[in-house]
Each structure stands twice: as C-alpha cells, then as structure tokens.
Amino acid sequence: MLTCELQDHLLIRFEGRMDTARCTEIAEEVRTAVTAPSGPVVFDLQQVDFVASAFLRLCIYAYQQAGSRGFQIVHAGPSIKRVFKIAGLDAMFKCE
C-alpha cells in the first residue's frame, strides 16, 4: 500500500489481493490515514485483482470519514466493480 498525500487530496494506491488477511493487516493504517486529511480521499485500485468484503468495509469507513470532502475509487477493473455493484456500493466510483 502506498500513500501519497498530494497537495489537495489523499491518494492511496493498493496492490494485489485485498483479502481478509491483508485488509486486517492494513486496516489500522488506512483508518488513520483517511481520518487525518483535509481534502478528498481517493483509492486507486489499478493494481488490485481481488477484493473481499473486508476491503469493502474499509471503503465504507473511508467514505463516511471523508464525508463532504469526498471519496472516490478510481481505476477498478470489471471484476472488482462487479463486487462493489453486488454490494450496492457503485456510487463510490468516479464517473468515467
């Protein structure tokens, strides 16, 4: 996981399998990171090939923490998007 704080927003790039074990490892770090910034929060999933519900829960947390600052997911592949759609969370995607 790479966190890049840009001038006006927080960008977090995830990589590989975001399964329960991996999400459990990084949960604290992600939760702290998304609580701190003042601008919008962006999750980049270009390098992610698998998401479990634990990752969706992290996204819900980030979305709620970001509130009016805004939260969005970018560069998710079709199989990842499908999981978010089933969960009714497709509002998190950037309109591309």
Binding site: D19, R57, Q64, I86
Partner: protein, 326 residues
C-alpha cells in the same frame, strides 16, 4: 475423473493466504477457468473468516477444507468443530442504503450467496459443515430473444407480510436493478407484470407513483426498479393466470428465454398455475439473487417449489450473460 485436494488449517486469519495459494495452484492445474477460481477464492476467504471471527473457541479447532473438481463444477466443503453457526440464515445487509448510512456487517456472506451456484449449511455431530458449488463454465449466454419479466415488484412493501419481506426485497431490488441495466444495454425487453392495487381503475403509472410516495423503506425498492419509458407493463387482477395480451406479446417477440425476477411467492404461484405455458419451448431462468422471499427461507426451498413444476436455471444473475457481454 474427479480430483480432490484436502487441507487442514488452524483457525487463524493469517492462515488464509496459504490456503488460497494451495487452492489456486490446484484449480489451475485442473484447468478451471480464472473467473470460477476467483469465485471459489472469495467464497473460501469470506466463509472461513466468518467462521473464525464469529465462531466460538477461537484458535483451538482446525478447519478442514476439501476442494473437489467434478466434471462440470468445483465443490468445496468447509468443516469445523464448535457451536452451531449457520451463515446462510443471516438476513441480507441493506444494499440499497447509501454508503454514508451503511453499517459495515453482513456483506461477506451476502457476496458469497450472490456469486456461488449453491451454498448450504448443516450441523452434524458437533461440527459445522458448509458446502458450496461453482460451475466450471461460469457464464450462461442468453439467446437474443430473451425477455426479462419482473413480477409484482411495484407494490406497497409495508403491508402485512411486507415487513418481513423488506430486507430481502431490498436485496432483490439491487441485484434486479443491476440485471435490468444490463438487459437494457443488450436491448432485452423488460416486462413488468403486476398485481393491480385498484381493481376498478387499474393504472400502472398511478400505481408506481403511489408506491414511490409511500414509506421510504418500501419506496426505495420501487425507486430502484422504476420503469423506463421503453419498458412494457401489464396489470393483472387477483387471479394468477397470465394475461392474454402477455401471451400474445411472447409470440410476437418470438421469446426463446425468459428471465423471471421479483417476489418469489408470486413467481411460484404464477408458474404453478401456468406450468404448461412456462414449460413450453421456453428456457426459464430464475436467478436466485433476484427472488425475494418473506423471511430467511433458503434459496433451496424456493428452487424446490418452482422446480416441482418446471425446469429452470436458478444460478445467480452474475452467471448470466446477454448477447454482446462476452
């Protein structure tokens, strides 16, 4: 010939990646497709994590996982000791709720139920047994002459039996809405077949409007499934018979396959009273994630009821593909 992999892991989350790697390698060698492997992996991860996090006596009981590659599908059983814990009895999470109002729980099992072909639970001799099946060839391609039929989705969901139905209907609405968007892109006609709420002055648009302005928990369902201008609506009175106009529409559209979604009870009754019609030269698909029951009745019961009258494909909507999607 079938092939099998049996593994035993300690009930700790940190063990899951090792299991995933072994199962991945085994299924790849058995030439199972990537999409099916991903579905198996997601189901394993969610179901075992659930067992570890919510089961009792953590850290003491190994979990046995058996993965079998059969001619048409992958069958996985997960066996662990401990108190009975049936994840299939949990109500679905509220997937119609906006992300800002979401609670975090219940998503994992719901994802599994929506993605695998079959999920079942049993508790025998002090052991929890979970079994799921995933078809090797995951996608079923619908013929061009397919119609999507939505049964009794426009209604007041807070009436008597509606309260129990609500959480299941909300989940049905989300999956059916996604399926409907896909159908629209593939130019598959969508037909609403709905019980009329006004016997003397039936009007579908008034009925939609009335349901949209009611209690919001129910209105959200109708809003998610709100008819588009091109959709076809048909109202019927109390009887379960198919309107003649709908039968004419069928032959006019030369329908070869019919996907039914909506209220499970209405669909069961409709099929039971019109079984010759539904069985006649028509492929029937009833995606189980798009059927709403009025309680934690398992998919299995609904499938058995409908299956008693006609042959149908009950695999979840994620397993269907319209023309142009693959």
């Amino acid at each position: 010939m079938g092939r099998m992999l049996t593994l035993s892991i300690a009930d700790r989350i940190a063990e899951l990646p090792h299991l995933a790697a072994a199962v991945d390698e085994f299924l790849e060698r058995a030439r199972v497709g990537r999409e099916a492997i991903d579905t198996v992996q997601l189901a394993l991860d969610e179901l075992i994590a659930n067992q570890i996090l919510w089961g009792q006596d953590r850290g003491e009981h190994p979990i046995q996982v058996q993965t079998a590659v059969e001619p048409t599908r992958v069958r996985v059983t997960i066996e662990s000791e401990g108190q009975p814990f049936d994840p299939t009895s949990l109500p679905p999470p509220d997937v119609l709720r906006r992300p800002e109002d979401r609670r975090e729980g219940g998503l994992g099992v719901y994802l599994v139920q929506t993605l695998v072909d079959e999920l079942s639970y049993a508790h025998r001799d002090g052991r929890n047994l979970l079994e799921f099946k995933v078809a090797k060839r995951q996608i079923r391609l619908c013929p061009p002459e397919t119609v999507l039929l939505l049964v009794d989705v426009v209604r007041d969901y807070t009436l008597a039996s509606g309260e129990r139905l609500l959480p299941y209907a909300r989940a049905m609405a989300q999956q059916t809405a996604v399926l409907k968007e896909r159908a629209a892109r593939a130019q598959v006609p969508v037909v609403y077949l709905n019980q009329s709420t006004n016997r003397w002055k039936p009007s579908f648009s008034r009925q939609v409007h009335a349901c949209l302005t009611g209690d919001d928990r129910g209105a959200a369902i109708v809003r998610r499934l709100e008819p588009a201008p091109d959709d076809i609506f048909m109202l019927r009175d109390g009887s379960e018979s198919l309107p003649e106009s709908l039968q004419r529409l069928w032959s006019k559209l030369r329908t070869k396959a019919l996907i039914v979604a909506g209220l499970a009870d209405s669909i069961c009754a409709l099929i039971a009273t019109n079984d010759t019609f539904f069985a006649h030269e028509l492929e029937l698909l009833a995606p189980c994630d798009c059927l709403a029951t009025d309680g934690p009745r398992s998919r299995k019961q609904v499938i058995e009821q409908i299956g008693a009258y006609v042959q149908a494909d009950f695999r979840p909507s994620t397993r269907l593909a319209f023309q142009g999607e693959v």
